[in-house]
Symmetry: C2
Amino acid sequence: MPPARKQESSATKRGPAYPKAVDRLISLFADLPGIGRRSAERLAFHFLKNEEKAAADLAAALLDVKRTVRHCEVCWNLSDGPRCDICTSDSRDRKTVLIVEQPRDLIALEQTGMYRGLYHVLMGRLSPLDGIGPEELTVADLLKRLDNHSINPGQTPVGEVILGLNPTLEGDGTALYLSDLCRQRGVKVTRLARGLPTGSQLEYANKAVLADAIEGRQGV
Amino acid sequence: MPPARKQESSATKRGPAYPKAVDRLISLFADLPGIGRRSAERLAFHFLKNEEKAAADLAAALLDVKRTVRHCEVCWNLSDGPRCDICTSDSRDRKTVLIVEQPRDLIALEQTGMYRGLYHVLMGRLSPLDGIGPEELTVADLLKRLDNHSINPGQTPVGEVILGLNPTLEGDGTALYLSDLCRQRGVKVTRLARGLPTGSQLEYANKAVLADAIEGRQGV
């Protein structure tokens, strides 16, 4: 019989003997993207060690973000109110709408400071294999903006749609689908230049690459 | 004059244009140990994307951990009640007290399943350069346990103290300080065997190394 101390598995089964509330916090942290068990323990002990304010602040911020942040009724960007800062701004070019998959892509493009038009956030991309069709995205709201001037901010007709989807297979498929719909409506369609390396994710591109992509957009 | 798109710094200054609540959540996440700005954004968007329950659960767990978890009045282990599970357990050897720096060290030792005695958590180590002396630690509570049988669980006199401090310069200094105090009281003092590689942190040692250290403890 091997000595008890070699029985790794039985020792593991005995469990970590943390108080229940600590265990629960650790497993919630460990469920988050990119956080393993060790980091989760480290985070839980960070809050145990620090004063109550640190935990209370994060708890409040978590509740706050779900309570106060919604999607813009026009473009689906993240917003404090019914319409986002970009849709309500007088200084944007309201004839141009750049379509992105998710709010983080919009933020990445905004940080280049190169684009002065409006956006439309699709909230995903077409992915037939995952059962994601146009109905799962905000395509209908986009078409309403194109068809009905009074819906687009400033009641301005949309003259150009820029496709800013990820340069991936699914992004390209979505772009193809949308470009047909836009052209049927007589709207000029362009797409971000392929300064973006195919296969990468837009949200991780650096600003210079994103700026190149905005400047070099091409007719399709 | 360089073109605007090369002015990285001014674009950065413009800020990320997130709603305030999102910004706040991102910076709170980014302040946590081991989490950078990118991971913080990813975490914030995880909660934005998922249903409210995910944020509410983590918020509740954070508040819960600060409300329900306290330190054991005897050994300073984490505890749900006034005394921890180890101090209240009848099946532990109450004549032996293993001194560790922090609750995580205690958990690591418990997971070996090799130790059946009690603990005392110092809540740190002596560190004169950082102004941490015996008063900043739980040394006084340890001495009370040694001097007064009625304080130690089961009113059992402590016969042996095992020093389980980190095998570092500060841990060794603390061990030296404590071993003098214990020997003055006629208590046998041992320390964990140097199966622990000097300079490492106890909380990261694997179970086999920790088990060796418990088994091979040496007189000092």
